[in-house]
Amino acid sequence: MPIDIPKDKWPGSIRAITIGATSAEGGTRAKSITVGGQTTLPYLHFEAPTPNQPVIAIEIKSRKPEDWSPLLLETWGEAMNDSAQWAKKAEEAGAGLLVLALTVEDSVEDAVKAVKSVLAASGLPLIVWGPGQAEKDNELLVPIAEATKGEKLVLGICEDKNYRTIVATAMANGHLVQARTPMDVNLSKQLNILISDMGMPKDRILMDPTTGALGYGIEYGYSVMERLRLAALQGDAMTQFPMIVTPGFEAWKTKESKVGEGVPESWGDWKARAINWETLTAMALIESGADVVVLRHPESVKRVKDAIGELVIA
């Protein structure tokens, strides 16, 4: 008795978006990366192929982050003192993209220098995050955008309270933006509309629906992502952007990952647990539609990368 397997055919699809520009494309990247382009839910190959793999970005910082977990400090070691070295090591660890996160202590000069040194050290496409304070973000990101015109960086993080300056400079200098909203389908749509209304081409927006780590709200992020992806496939143009999420940041601020002592014995081995925390958070988000996951530990990167390899093969 042959069974008819029900297949969904969707009217909408996700935009394919390219990050980074090679010399032929007006930049200096060794290659560019394309994400998105899906016409069905994640990895259901019996309905449609996966046109572009999800990509792992590794987060590095312009200054050594003393408040990171000792496990991260130990694994990146000396390289954390120099963003260029760190970028090289991240590329070796298997990153497909780099995130350079700036800090409030950076002057404009420091920040531009850090971005340039990372671009010189690695051929990977680059995402640059401001320190997360509106004024400082704008102060640093504008000169960076100008100094790297044509590289097709992703600039972030745009939020509803501060997006205009970042979007304007990204538009003027041929970059992309990361649009973040706090775990809500309508807020995501709204910010995407505001950014598009400024004239930003729709193939230069990555949406960041925000997520929580395992045990710290992942169920909200997970379902918001599923709903955003369903809305996009149903044809809602303002949700048809690839999604970027930050499981590394979220997982490594939990006590489960950060701390090795004074925790219940039932949590098991610290390092293995911490890496599981980051890896499993990332995988759950990839299953729910993430196109770019930003991670921190090389071992999580390796595991997630292998899993992506297994998921994208029909």
């Binding site: 601020k253 039932s266 098991g268 292998d306």
Partner: protein
């Protein structure tokens, strides 16, 4: 499929005799459709109608319960593909695989059995053991039963399973597995010993064919093993099976079992199985550093998305606060609470955290909805007798509600009101730099 009131009415006697205490059969049918009465209230329903009504009321995915002495693990009864459509109901059971031949069997089982981990006030543990019959199963089960009461999955061929089943009579274990080569023998075993049975095949077609055959022999509690060997195959297969079941294909309306124990990356395979439709998950060994995140993931995925999780309003002690430690105020939305508690805990700084009843909303949402205002904050401070615990009457409000500080001062005479950062992540720095 659930029947409508009219469809049910057609199956009733239509005599309007009122014995069910409704004026007409139609009125009774409407109540039945709304699940507000039991069919038993009508003494005159024919057997044929009863059967049809029972079938229509059956859930699209059969509830399969594994039982041992007093404990039970259930899977099935799911009604949706995405948790936001309704919710996922029965958390997949996590089973640890052990070998009958293992010389340390009793001790390994006892260790895993005793495992308990606390997450947000709830205690989690494993659900049972999957025993591989690579030596006499009867002896192994006697050993296992000295160390655990949890339900069992028994893995072997019909001949090796037999002694195991005798050793756990009175229980409902799950047998692995009936395939095309041994379906009859496995079905007989399951029927004789009242066990549940895993059916294994590599396509929905083949699975449906087997389940129908086995069902015809009178075994009802079945579990599907789609024998997927990669993440992508498992995702495809489980999605297809769930969809077909929800479309009321009875032959596939059973829970699914996953074996991450055989996957390249066990943690990742188990995480996918939990998120994507498995009802039972078999792990290779007892590893707390993997079990804990999996138990938390399972809890998160199976949380009802319609209900915001709330924490109990009250005063929480973080890092053993002293009378001079600061008093932080937040809402009882669990994510807000955990964000704050986590940051402060991670910083090592002692604090009192006052969780106000904001009906489970985050700071901004609650403020906008009028559920987090000066009055409620003052009520919490007074109601939880905060003044008795501290020497310094000073509270820190979340930065997002800085506008409330004047009103809070009015409501709480004698208290100093300070405005903290907007985001929890900035609390440690604020506490270090501003408060000291």
């Amino acid at each position: 499929m659930a029947l409508s009131g009219i469809q049910i009415y057609k199956l009733l006697p239509q005599t309007n005799c009122k014995e069910c205490s409704f004026p007409t059969c139609l009125a009774f049918a409407m109540k039945l459709a709304a699940k507000q009465v039991e069919l038993g209230a009508c003494p005159y329903v024919s057997d044929e109608s009863k059967k049809q009504l029972a079938e229509s009321a059956a859930p699209p995915i059969r509830l399969v319960a594994l039982k041992s002495n007093g404990t039970e693990v259930k899977a099935g009864n799911e009604v949706c593909l995405f948790r936001h459509e309704k919710t996922f109901y029965n958390k997949p059971g996590l089973f640890i695989r052990v070998k009958a031949s293992d010389p340390d069997l009793a001790q390994k089982v006892a260790t895993a059995d005793a495992y308990k981990v606390n997450y947000v006030g709830m205690d989690f543990s494993i659900d049972g053991f999957a025993v591989l019959a690579d030596a006499d199963l009867g002896t192994a089960i006697k050993t296992i039963r000295t160390a655990t009461k949890r339900p069992l999955i028994l893995m072997g061929d019909p001949a090796s399973l037999q002694p195991g089943l005798l050793a756990c009579s009175g229980e409902t274990p799950l047998l692995y597995a009936a395939d095309a080569s041994n379906a009859d023998a496995m079905a007989d075993l399951a029927k004789t010993h009242k066990a549940a049975l895993i059916v294994k095949a590599d396509s929905p077609d083949a699975l449906a064919e087997l389940t129908q055959k086995i069902q015809a022999k009178g075994v009802e509690d079945l579990v599907l093993d789609a024998s997927a060997t990669s993440l992508s195959a498992a995702l495809t297969r489980n999605t297809q099976l769930r969809r077909l079941a929800l479309k009321n294909m009875r032959a596939l309306g059973y829970p699914i079992i996953a074996f991450p124990c055989d996957a390249k990356d066990e943690g990742i395979a188990a995480a996918q199985a939990i998120a994507k439709y498995a009802g039972f998950v078999v792990l290779s060994e007892f590893k707390p550093e993997l079990l804990y995140p999996l138990l938390v993931l399972r809890e998160n995925i199976y949380t009802d998305p319609q209900k915001p999780i709330q924490v109990q309003p009250g005063i929480y002690e973080i890092n053993a606060p002293k009378p001079e430690s600061p008093v932080l105020v937040t809402t009882n939305f669990s994510i807000t609470y955990f964000a704050v508690a986590n940051e402060v805990e991670g910083s090592g700084l002692p604090a009192w955290l006052v969780v106000t009843d904001a009906e489970g909303m985050s700071v901004l949402t609650a403020w906008a909805a009028g559920k987090f205002d000066a009055e409620r904050i003052a009520k919490a401070i007074k109601g939880f007798n905060v003044a008795d615990k501290v020497s310094k009457k000073r509270i820190i409000l979340p930065g997002h509600v800085a506008v409330l500080s004047g009103e809070v001062e009015e409501e709480l005479p004698g208290w100093e009101v300070r405005v903290g950062p907007r985001e929890a992540v900035d609390l440690p720095a604020f506490m270090k730099q501003v408060l000291n």
